[in-house]
Symmetry: D2
Subunit: 245 residues, 4 copies
């Protein structure tokens, strides 16, 4: 198979406005996420793009050359141009894989693809998160034990307002009591979409080996399986017309 | 149960610009669709709304008082205000039923809810359509034989670019050879969504008794089953904090 | 609507062999479950059937007169005759609602309908269970707060080896740490199926008001919506044969 | 990736009792199906197994060494031992791919995995079948045009009593008028299942290049993606017990 081309998209705002975030991710969260992908998928070609670049780094050409896109955004969802969000949506429907991380649940891209509010409950309280595996045979859970833990994370709780996941890979529990469907799969058009919950900016989550492994597994799982550019064509009937005899 | 409140939304453009359409639907397609609903659901309160009214007749208050909305549009999808389309989407997610008719597959509302292109192939060639029942026990197929026919319709063919239907009620065949998933169910949020294919404006399809019966069955099926206004709340943890002993 | 006819099926073994169970459910778990249904659905006709009756109380006639069946079994799954299990399966496919309770996950009936192993992890350790609502607008969650608790229950944990639920209503957390998809919906044929986790025989779970309310909501939700007896018929073509001109 | 190990299972009865079938498939339908697979997947290791072999050729060891199994049966479904059918089911849930062909819709294996009756309507009348592609980007449709035709086939029509397909790849139309969901995907456990309609024994369908290509594509699509042997284990809680402070 061809080398997987992964683009890691980062909002890249907190890193420049919050000293704590900058301390954990001095070169940007996207850089750390990309490093994790390269570690677990050494043959992949991993690059990054950010909100601040022209067209947020996601030109039509760039997307055409991307097999799987990861998306992290939080406080600047509204600054993503509608046109770029729709372009990403279109490319996913065409076949590009998409991995939506943490607060990306409220990104334009994810909401456009899900069609629902994508809301959830949340709390910032330095809580332990335990991520349970719902299917140990799922390729996205490869190499993960029955569960793994993150010592501190933001809490996300049910209800999570998304269409019923086609496959449930992980469910999380938090110290404050809540549970959350933290690893969910859907297909839309020919694109494979994975939502993965962990990754609040004030914690070193994307340095965690289990988190990195999951994202890498998901990128491999989301590899495009066939492209189709649809266009609502007017078609002619077959030469013959089929009619009652 | 309470009387079902149905709002029939019509684009109401072809009726004023095309003599043939005006001849078939002199008081508007929406009026004919509403009459069909009243015939098969005599206890329902059926009203209409059109593109030309302020806010297209779909104010927040009007939607709040609507249990099921039917949507027919074709040439003026772009004239539907984004704000109104998003308001309808939000109300569906909250629990309102939605029946999307024919060319409504390309409406803003349907595309927002599906998240896909909703494209298909098509042809206008006065073709016979035969609509087959995929589940004779489904409430939307109640009273319909193995199939029913429409003597002339526009052809819609696969591929139909929607998320996998959660229930397949009808599949159509056309004289030119094509097939199409012509009756499809989804749930999004708490709203029940039914797409029903027939209804090109230049044919008397909404005068047809089988078509009317299906739309009425679908309205009954899409009755709201529970409302939930979601808002992504920040929540406090339970008084207790749950932690390892 | 007609009065809902509910049959509560009970294995009725532990109650006669275990003093603790007998103390909690002196007239059988099925009797207590039936009382809860009658409390929340006073208009329903609720009856019981048990393993020990001829044909386990589930004759063809009895099933024909049942709209919704609830199923609790644990240690005697193998004593359920294959013929009766297949008869229940067939009646569900025809339209009867089915509510599978707790250890019923391993019943012949549930496994036949799911097609998977229906396995899970488990532990008996007097653990607190917290049942979270995943969709506050779902009819099965009506009247339930964000969560409810049971002070002591058997633990069931992921992985739960079932087909992806079509709707997720509840997810549970247990004091020992595990999480579990504890309220799951599927449709098979025309039957609505709800799996609800709580109910280990050594705890008074079926006396709990939240549990009773959920089971009653589920019975209402599972009301048959249309019957279809399928038989793989040989059919003749329409009078006309449709062929190319 | 490793070489795909495909086992082609054939009932192998008609070939010995019906001169017409023997004329078309002198070495058995399974042999012809296997040849088609080898043509389109030259790197695969394709072998056959038949009803008449001990354990129908499907010992636990043989299944362990099979990545994808294809299944054709018709008149002798009842002669397949329950134990072997359950063994195949278990192996699919563990991860083996399964391609069910034509009259295999009524096999024990398929019915066990679907949980429904799997019934349909049918007619033997030498009808033309036109197989339409519902998703041109789906890997199973790779290399297939908008549709392909088989000059004569048995008719299968809706209703097809299966759980809602997770992906619809093909829909067929027949000269007598009927339509049928002829290419359907499901996942059960970790196994990928594809049902493909064509293949009545009295027609040379498995010599057809399009049919062969589809079956080969499906075998590639159904390649195991991860294995998991589930066993409903009793688990101990984490060392710590998580409790309210």
């Amino acid at each position: 198979m061809n080398s997987l081309r992964i683009t890691v998209w980062g909002e890249n705002v907190h890193e420049h406005t919050n000293a704590k975030v900058n301390g954990i991710y001095p070169r940007g969260m996207h850089t750390t996420i990309a490093e994790g992908l390269s570690k677990y998928l050494p043959a992949a070609r991993v690059t990054t793009a950010t909100l601040q670049e022209p067209e947020h780094g996601l030109t039509a050409e760039r997307l055409r050359d991307t097999d799987v896109l990861t998306w992290w955004g939080h406080k600047a969802h509204d600054q993503v141009a509608d046109e770029v969000a729709r372009r990403v949506q279109a490319r996913v429907l065409e076949g590009m894989g998409l991995i939506v991380l943490h607060s990306g649940h409220y990104s334009k891209v994810f909401r456009l693809l899900m069609g629902t509010t994508c809301s959830l409950t949340w709390r910032e309280a330095d809580e332990r998160e335990r991520v349970w595996v719902c299917n140990p045979g799922h390729p996205i859970a490869r190499g993960i034990d029955r569960f793994f833990e993150l010592p501190m994370e933001e809490m996300y709780g049910e209800p999570f307002a998304v269409p019923a996941p086609e496959e449930q890979v992980f469910i999380s529990w938090f110290e404050g009591g809540e549970v959350f469907r933290s690893g969910c799969c859907w297909r839309r058009g020919n694109g494979s979409i994975f939502y993965f919950r962990p990754g609040h900016e004030t914690y070193p989550t994307y340095h965690d080996d289990n988190v990195r492994r999951v994202i890498a597994n998901a990128a491999e799982w989301a590899r495009p399986r066939g492209a189709w550019v649809d266009s609502c064509p007017n078609v002619t009937a077959s030469a013959e017309k089929i009619s009652p005899k």
